[in-house]
């Protein structure tokens, strides 16, 4: 039934390498590199598709048609855009800090890439299955803050610098609720391993056990990827494009790639932690596990886009106030309620 096509490929590759007499160390390495390439290709294709999807959704929400010239239904629009950006000059303005200025767009895709390394794209399809998977994703996710700031600081541009400072203030304020909201799920499962967390949701998805945590995580996630209504970082009507103002060509494209990459990471995490990962709803196992994972991730991404084209941007004081005065206390309360609730459940014989 198409179940485990990909794990099958990995197994046969391993068997082939074993048969060819490749030493185990080298064959493990080859399998890992194949996985890495698969993830890179999959993610790049997704990002290209997501940019197109975003424009189409925006168009339909605004009663337009959207891109429809390049390729059937405009499907090749983003491909054309990428090729165009590749051939554009990467302008290095006067008095920028060259090394930092160029290092930022190179580094910016590393945190999402590191996060993709542990995401299970289906049953048993995590490239690497770590014991501390969830915590690891949070740790590497926290690295993107300073990379965005590097871009903003090095540009020698006031808009960029203001944008860079806002990136840090915003991401820092929303990282706390992001980290704290996952604790409820960890308490229920007693593990940090992503595979075990997904398997623990065979009974009920945690969106039903932890609805508040899901909401907090989602809101903080929207803010972490700097999207509307929390896109003060690159609010185009006030600070041009924030940290990316001076970037052009492929350097700019890398930031966009990383933004969509980060959005995918947050959607994947929502799916894993709250929507049952690759598990099929209602026992509909006639579709393979990776397909369910894919559908759930895309559902989350669609909600991201839907929100973007529905809500206006909020003010910076509202943004930070909301993070610190509403989301942080709420997520702490959620931990407390979860703990007490679990004791009550146990007392009445769970």
């Amino acid at each position: 039934m198409g179940e485990n096509i990909f794990t099958g490929i990995a197994e046969s590759l391993r068997a082939f390498l074993y048969g060819a007499g490749v030493p185990p160390l080298a064959s493990e390495l080859i399998v890992l590199i194949v996985k890495l390439l698969a993830v890179i290709i999959f993610v790049s294709l997704n990002v290209v598709w997501l940019v197109y999807m975003e424009r189409k959704i925006a168009a339909y929400i605004q009663c337009r048609i959207g891109p429809n010239r390049v390729g059937p239904k405009g499907l090749l629009q983003t491909v054309a855009d990428v090729v165009k950006l590749l051939a554009k000059e990467i302008i290095i303005p006067r008095r920028v800090d060259k090394v930092v200025y160029l290092a930022a767009p190179i580094l910016v895709f590393v945190p999402p890439m590191l996060a993709f390394a542990v995401i299970p794209w289906g049953d048993g399809m995590a490239p690497i299955d770590l014991n501390i998977g969830v915590f690891y994703i949070l740790a590497v996710g926290s690295l993107s803050t300073i990379i965005f700031w590097m871009g903003g600081w090095s540009s020698n541009n006031k808009y960029s610098l203001v944008g860079g400072m806002r990136v840090v203030a915003q991401m820092v304020s929303y990282e706390l609720p992001l980290v704290l909201s996952l604790l409820g799920v960890i308490m229920l499962t007693g593990t940090l391993s992503i595979t075990e967390i997904v398997n623990a949701q065979r009974g009920t998805w945690f969106i039903f056990a932890q609805p508040l945590a899901f909401l907090i995580y989602f809101i903080a996630g929207v803010s972490e990827v700097n999207r509307v209504p929390f896109d003060l970082v690159e609010g185009e009507s006030e600070i041009i494009a924030g940290p990316y103002t001076e970037y052009s060509g492929m350097a700019y494209a890398m930031y966009m790639l990383a933004e969509y990459g980060n959005m995918m990471v947050i959607s994947c995490m929502c799916t894993i932690m709250f929507l049952g990962g690759w598990l099929a709803p209602f026992g509909w196992t006639f579709l393979p596990s990776w397909f369910w994972f894919f559908i759930k991730v895309y559902l989350m991404i669609f909600i991201f886009m839907w929100i973007r084209w529905t809500y206006p941007r909020i003010r910076v004081d509202q943004l930070l106030g909301f993070g610190w005065k509403v989301l942080v206390p709420l997520s702490l309360a959620n931990i407390f309620v979860t703990g007490v609730g679990m004791y009550i459940y146990r007392a009445i014989g769970w």
Binding site: P24, E28, L32, L36, V39, S44, L86, A87, K88, E89, I90, R94, L102, P105, L107, V108, M113, L114, P127, I128, D129, L130, N157, K158, Y159, L161, M165, V168, A169, V172, S173, E175, L176, V179, L180, L183, I186, M187, G190, T191, L192, I240, T245, E246, G249, M250, A251, M254, L257, V316, D317, L320, W324, V328, P329, L332, I335, F336, G339, Y343
Partner: protein
């Protein structure tokens, strides 16, 4: 598993660098260069930039960063506790409530002193 999982993580790190570096280097090799003085000015809506770029920022930013560091340290205590929550029993739960209470006092103080306000 012969290799440690972290070798894989290292590999993905290198992969991420190669994606970014590869894209930028490819573009650098093929993109045109037409030198015009104005093109290399900082972008400021067509107006010449005035004064230094790296200006002083207000203390509110620093306060948020400090609060963040402190609560970030708190969360790393919470994670091991949450993992062992079910087996450690009521005593550990009460310990953690005390721990959280002390820090909530801190949050309350920050709130009261207006450190959470954006002024």
């Amino acid at each position: 598993m012969v290799l440690s999982e972290w070798t894989g993580v290292l590999l993905f790190f290198i992969g991420g660098l190669l994606v970014g570096g590869g894209a930028i280097v490819t573009s650098y090799l093929i993109h045109p260069r037409r030198i015009q003085a104005q093109k290399y000015e900082p972008y400021e809506c067509g107006v010449d930039t005035i004064g230094p770029t790296w200006v002083q920022f207000k203390t509110s930013y620093f306060l948020y960063a400090l609060l963040f560091v402190i609560f970030d340290v708190e969360t790393i205590y919470l994670y091991p506790w949450a993992v062992k929550f079910q087996s450690l029993g009521l005593f550990a739960f009460i310990e953690m409530i005390i721990f959280l209470f002390i820090l909530i006092v801190g949050l309350w103080y920050a709130w009261k002193e207006g450190a959470l306000e954006w002024k």
